[in-house]
Symmetry: D3
Subunit: 162 residues, 6 copies
């Protein structure tokens, strides 16, 4: 059955392994991912629009996302370690919708793609936003964690549908 | 403005800190959280219903989730370290819907709640599922990461609405 | 020789160990530490007084310091792991002097003091400030890393001289 | 304003990011850094001149410094991961002055400089020395953490003034 | 089948979990473990008997073992985090036999035993010894990693047979 | 004395360092290592032959071994960080002998060999097996941790004797 082999991290007998990437060529690879935190409008205002002198709230989540991208191979067991060469994490707070959209971009010169790094960055940034707001909104939800686009590597460029 | 003070991790001037929990009492605390991975039915079958002798696929995600729960204070900058006393991570694959529901339960005897640990467990388990299937479905989405219930501590028990 | 025994991490034959603290009593312990980054006045202005909408520069250093406090037993080989219950990291930029003073406060309910955690917090916050400014001032110096005060524990309270 | 752009880790709006180094060329890069621990002469003797059969005291600090160099991108949020190819950490105890000078050299073949790795090595080695002596000298100070010299990379060689 | 339940980390359906220890009582617990590195007599002499001024070789392995004890819950997926209160790692080089015996003692006040911590300490100390000697003896073997004794906790004291 | 120089991690004065590998050439390198867990036949059956629907027991040890390979430079102080490109961990349970043989293969394109990574993988997989069975067999022993073969690099291929 050909699909069985499609789970690249699983061998023919079903056991997991870290696949061989030693012959893949090193190219510049980029991936973008996003996540949405759904909360209430007043909470979005608290997080993002305070006129406080030191507005650390979203900075904390940004740093958490950037640091998490570097930790991806420690968190996702079969991920290969990669020399990350760029990470950005951005927030789009929308008080009307009560949402905060998070987008990460990760770049490397390496032998595997960086979509797991970008997904890990937005996930941990979203968890950190949740941690900031959980005292005011226990019911917040993290939604729509997905890859937006990736480029570089043999499998070519890919972009998510609208 | 009283709401400003509601972001417990942020001080009056907007700067972040790790709040003082030294006077909180140690009680048994439990939290349950969930996440949904949305993919295709055939991918769910590959992951969960293979008759392979060593079906590691979901085991990898379970272990990743359990280990991530222990790493929560390394990932979420303002989380307090906690002596976790129990973690379970379970999967409910649904081939008809093309979804895998992930639920984690975390327990501690400690001074703060463990909802961040439970959310981190399901998030990293979901990222690991994504990593297993990304070669066959780049468009998979992780949705609905939320707390289901928490108990213990001063703020009392809480359960998510249906 | 009594002084030989004063190096508590070293046994009679000179070999290192992690000393036994299992009989020490758990009390609330606090330590404050500081570090000074010496650079140029214009660099301090860049770091601390920019009217930019998202002034992340010192936030990054604050988060780095808080997270480093939690990593102390991973960095300092003979330190005991401790359940940290509070961390703050603050900055006093002084453009006239070309300095940034960093102060950290760490609190625990535990069996050992937290001066190493407070010192680690200011050291890593200072290294992060250095990393932010190194492109504009390679000659910056981190000075005066020291304990300001500690309280709690059998050895009693202690405060640094002026 | 050109200076605003000089903080390479901060974008035009003030938010932090990990800058793109994917187009920088891989060259051999070296950095040397130092730190001074200021204590009392008798403490320096305890640390460095004991005739004990197993004189682990400074070895512990050396290993801590070497291991910390490898942890730099985990500690300093916007540092890129680098394949470190050499680390040395050396001590110059001076009982007359009551000081211990620590010098680290770090080398890599990579796309960014290694001054942060060398500074992290001396800082953590100094913190470890402090941890060894804190029972006999709470008032010890870590001073003068700075880059001594760096070479390799586009910006050319650099040496600290005397 | 009652034996199935004996694998405490495995639930009735065979899936792994981190078992609940929240109701276990906190007592002082100690474990001792050992490992043997088998190499050649001349290599043991190199490692342990050099008259060099700074004999770091076994110090490196000792520190590695102590630090690894603290990392046990990061390495062994279902281990509970524990506040370690004492660690020692000792070496018995025997040039006649070409062996180095490593013994670790770990102590805690906690709710689970520390045999995994003691075993991890000797294992990583042994791996570090191997790393020191691999250029002169690729064929070295690490043997006999086992618990020597444990005490504390409900299951009572236990000692290995001779 | 030439042998003194054979301990590559130790300098002429006996102090430890991380040796310079910046001039070594990057080649594909492979290492295989093994470990034996000695327990009782009925325990091997419990671990490996249960007809349970989710047989996670050895999966946990496999994942632990794979993740530990990536952590080698964090555990073994003088190891260089390496971009691991493949890891497999396999188990050969033998109920008749009461043993489980563990074999790991690690591959890299890098400047140093990967025998320490392969040894770390089997050691941590073996510790994890021990952790799974310790409630039913405290007297289990981990034996025979050794390199089976290595290839790539200047020193050429090497294979252990039978």
């Amino acid at each position: 059955m050909e699909e069985q082999q499609s789970l690249t991290h699983v061998r023919a007998d079903g056991s997991a392994h870290m696949v061989d990437v030693s012959e893949k060529s090193e190219t510049t690879r980029v991936a973008r991912a996003e996540a949405i935190v759904r909360t209430r409008g007043d909470v979005v205002v608290l997080l993002a629009e305070g006129n406080l002198p030191k507005g650390d709230a979203l900075s904390v989540a940004r740093i958490a996302g950037i640091m998490a991208a570097k930790k991806t191979p420690e968190l996702v067991p079969l991920c290969h370690p990669l020399p990350i060469s760029k990470v950005t994490v951005d927030f789009e707070p929308n008080a009307a919708d009560g949402t905060i959209r998070i987008e990460a971009l990760v770049k490397t010169r390496g032998v595997t793609g960086v979509e797991m790094e970008a997904l890990t960055a937005v996930s941990v940034a979203a968890l950190t936003v949740f941690d900031m707001i959980k005292a005011v909104d226990k019911a917040a939800i993290i939604d729509g964690i997905r890859v937006l686009a990736k480029s570089g590597g043999k499998s070519g460029d890919w972009e998510a549908g609208a």
